[in-house]
Symmetry: C2
Subunit: 204 residues, 2 copies
DNA sequence: CAGCTTATTCAACATCTGTAGAGTTCAACG
DNA sequence: CGTTGAACTCTACAGATGTTGAATAAGCTG
């Protein structure tokens, strides 16, 4: 049995390498965030030379940007929820949010985005631009008062939920059935969207 | 004027160097999290040789642990709020939470803890042990139902608020007056503590 | 003052980092 | 079938990183 050692050169057959690098990158950025994830590690996980990663993406930052593009449009989800039944938007959003996070497919990207948002300026800007502006737009379109403030409040509860349930995995929140969690959180979301959020009226 | 170049050896006078290293470490860990903060950078910021940091703390991880000890006891705050006026605990907690975060003194430690909790396993465990167990204990002591679930829900909104207002600095939440934010969030906290959080009762 | 402990620095280490350049192999197209 | 371009690897570099060991200077205790 002779073992052939590859020494450079294109591989025979179809070429899905770029995609598997992206997958490995997603996974790596997900676990620890931007800085701790290394190009070498990502390359190794993809069964590839580090230089190939450079060949495809040029540098670490664009690799990150490309790996971490959002799998869903939060603005669309919000708009649809508002359009369908304004007074139940909270329920719908909570359910959809949990559904997306619970699905293994999207989880990695989302985890990575949150992790990186906390440490990387670039990711933080991306968050603001992509997610928050979308939420705000949807709320404005629907004509609620103080759409910006409501949008950030909404984001605060959703992000906190993601942190507690998925990142820190605080029990029993982390393994509670999806509908239970949705029910617990929905009223808060609903109030942030269309309820009273001002001073001097502590009724809820 | 002759300039003396120090070449090792103790400095004359009192020695507060350890503390200034800790301060620099807090600041560094705060800005970016565990990994990106470098011992060399911390040492430089403290005007000290990197080896001195090792001398005092042995390794990076214990330096981190020592720099990032919590400045407040969340359990105590919660207990006091519950004892004073159970049906206004939400308001009190929201106010206290914002007050602590808004104070420059504690802010750095808290920022660092949250940032690191997201990426570092050790910090995440610290969070669970120190903060959450305290909250849970206080809720149990007060006799509410499902104290663990309520505790994590409470933590989720508070963490989300910290993320949105202090870490991502989402406007207008970030610069809204403290009482306004407290008023917006208090009802949610109150409901998580003593309100209805179950299914099949979507009234709020 | 002698002697021990502690604070402090210097120089060096092994390792890892992102990245660059040149070379090799394959696929696609004329 | 020859040429071009893209996929792919090797080797290397320059810089940063955590950590170590020895050397020096000051304080503390006797």
């Amino acid at each position: 049995m002779v073992s052939f050692k590859r020494r450079g050169g294109r591989r025979p057959g179809a070429t899905d390498t770029r995609e598997s690098i992206l997958a490995a990158a997603r996974e790596a950025f997900t676990r620890a965030g931007y800085r701790p994830a290394t190009i070498r590690g990502i390359a190794a996980a993809a069964g590839v030379d580090p230089a190939l990663v450079m060949h495809f993406f040029g540098n670490k930052e664009t690799l990150f940007r490309e790996a971490m593009t959002l799998p869903v449009e939060p603005a669309a989800v919000l708009s649809r929820a508002l359009a369908t039944s304004p007074d139940r938007a909270g329920e719908v959003i909570a359910a959809t949010f949990l559904e997306i996070w619970d699905s293994a497919a999207h989880r990695d990207s989302l985890l990575g985005l949150v992790r990186a948002s906390v440490t990387e300026q670039a990711a933080s800007d991306m968050f603001r631009a992509t997610i928050l502006d979308g939420i705000e737009h949807a709320l404005t379109e629907f004509g609620v008062s103080q759409p910006r403030l409501r949008g950030t409040l909404l984001a605060s509860q959703l992000m906190g939920l993601a942190m507690a349930r998925y990142i820190l995995a605080l029990e029993p929140l982390a393994s509670a059935p999806r509908p239970d969690v949705a029910a617990a959180v929905a009223p808060t979301l609903q109030r942030y969207i269309s309820g009273d959020i001002t001073r001097e009226s502590p009724r809820d």
